[in-house]
Subunit: 264 residues, 2 copies
């Protein structure tokens, strides 16, 4: 599918095509202006604690919706959503080990599974671009650099671990605008958690991200760090629940929510 | 007057006491929660251009009110205001040279004078303190450090010159909060204009401010710079109008406006 065609289709149409297998891979650029979300699916006996973990850590884990146990619908995000089939690719884990990366999880679905959809940085990147700010990782066609930090998440009994952050470099005046603009979107990570002094949050070398690709920071730029949706992913993998399903990196759930409507 | 008494009186009562000469000097801490303003008084044939200059430079020159030519009232800031007598101390200039620093300008008043009141940093410092941020210059009892920058103001025919900024150091997470909070107050300088890289805006040595007192910046802090009300003062002094009156530094006009009501 051409770029123009990707941009022209609605969120519901994108989900239909994903469900039919006509769209695979990355969801970036699909149904622009619509909120895309990170997906985490856990058994009910882990889900309550995970919800508490998210509420305690709203910056890395902003909850957009929680499904009912055993139910694949998420009506607040789109009338027709079936979380078993509407994400291009999933990762299935047993006891912390990845056992499959299917394009449909119908065969793994269980009556006790609870689906979570969490806000993702795509949603605050749109208004940054709209304001004329440059996002260098997008210009370079690379994955935003992400780093494990020394900022501890607020732990529950089984969920704990460091906050993972994404980094985007900006000139100082643009960094100020980026704080103001992203701060209006608390349900999709909100304002940055740090800027300017990476060593203070345990990042020794910006050129060596823990995830994603390096993005150079020029002498007239400051590195700006946002809480990242990889945080809950890493926290769950570390907790090793007996069963867990997530979206595949970059293959998000496309919702009917309008990005601009999230602005506080 | 004791500190507690200073804090207890209303804005109108503070102005009455200033008018009667019972309160002199600095207005900081008087009538907390009420907006205080910088004052600039110019002949009508300079006032229109100065208003244009302010509208072109809203961050250093946020206009709270403009009086009518020859009229000392500013009813939008307080029903009883008399700009000739309600500021504790003034500076009177002729052709750029200070000729007096009186506590009342009734004898200098003319039918062609236009009074401007511009927002001041006191107004965004209150909500920063309310949010639990520390302002080190207040803790040290010193005047905030101010610097001439290489950021040019948007010039008119006779008014031009560099933006002057004030600097407050914060840890990075507090700097982000400070951007978010002060950004809600665009009518009193709003969000910072720069942070983190002072040499980029022409500041060679933070320890040598052009005005005010030095404030140390620790290794875990970033210097955060706001557009400063000294900018219009310096721009007018440089333009050398035949006549000009300003408030004396730190001796502001206390208005009835509620700080919190300025939040955008």
């Amino acid at each position: 599918m051409l770029d123009g065609e990707r941009r022209a289709i609605s969120a519901a149409e994108a989900r239909r095509r994903i469900r039919r297998g006509e769209i695979a891979g990355q969801t970036g650029g699909l149904a622009p202006g619509r909120v895309q979300g990170n997906v985490a699916i856990l058994p009910a006996d882990w889900a309550d604690e995970f919800l508490r973990f998210c509420l305690q850590n709203p910056k890395p884990c902003p909850v957009l919706a929680v499904g009912r146990a055993g139910r694949p619908e998420l009506p607040s995000l789109g009338a027709d959503i079936d979380i078993r089939r509407d994400v291009p690719r999933y990762r299935v884990f047993e006891h912390g080990r990845e056992i499959a990366a299917p394009t449909d999880i119908s065969e793994y679905w269980r009556d006790d599974l609870v689906a979570f959809v969490l806000g993702c940085s795509f949603s605050f990147e749109w208004p940054l671009l709209d304001a004329g700010l440059r996002l260098k990782h997008l210009e370079a066609g690379t994955v935003v650099p992400m780093y494990r930090t020394n900022i501890a998440t607020a732990a529950t009994e089984r969920f704990h671990g460091p906050m993972v952050v994404s980094m985007r470099p900006f000139r100082p005046d643009d960094a100020i605008r980026a704080v103001q603009i992203s701060g209006r979107y608390p349900s999709v990570h909100g304002a940055p958690v740090h800027l300017g002094l990476p060593q203070m949050i345990g990042i020794a070398d910006l050129a060596r991200p823990d995830f994603g690709d390096p993005t150079p920071v020029e002498a007239d730029e400051l590195p700006v760090f946002w809480a990242c949706g990889v945080t809950p992913q890493a926290v769950i993998e570390q907790a090793k629940p007996p069963f867990f399903i997530s979206h595949f990196p970059g293959s998000m759930l496309i919702t009917d929510l309008v990005n601009a409507a999230l602005a506080a």
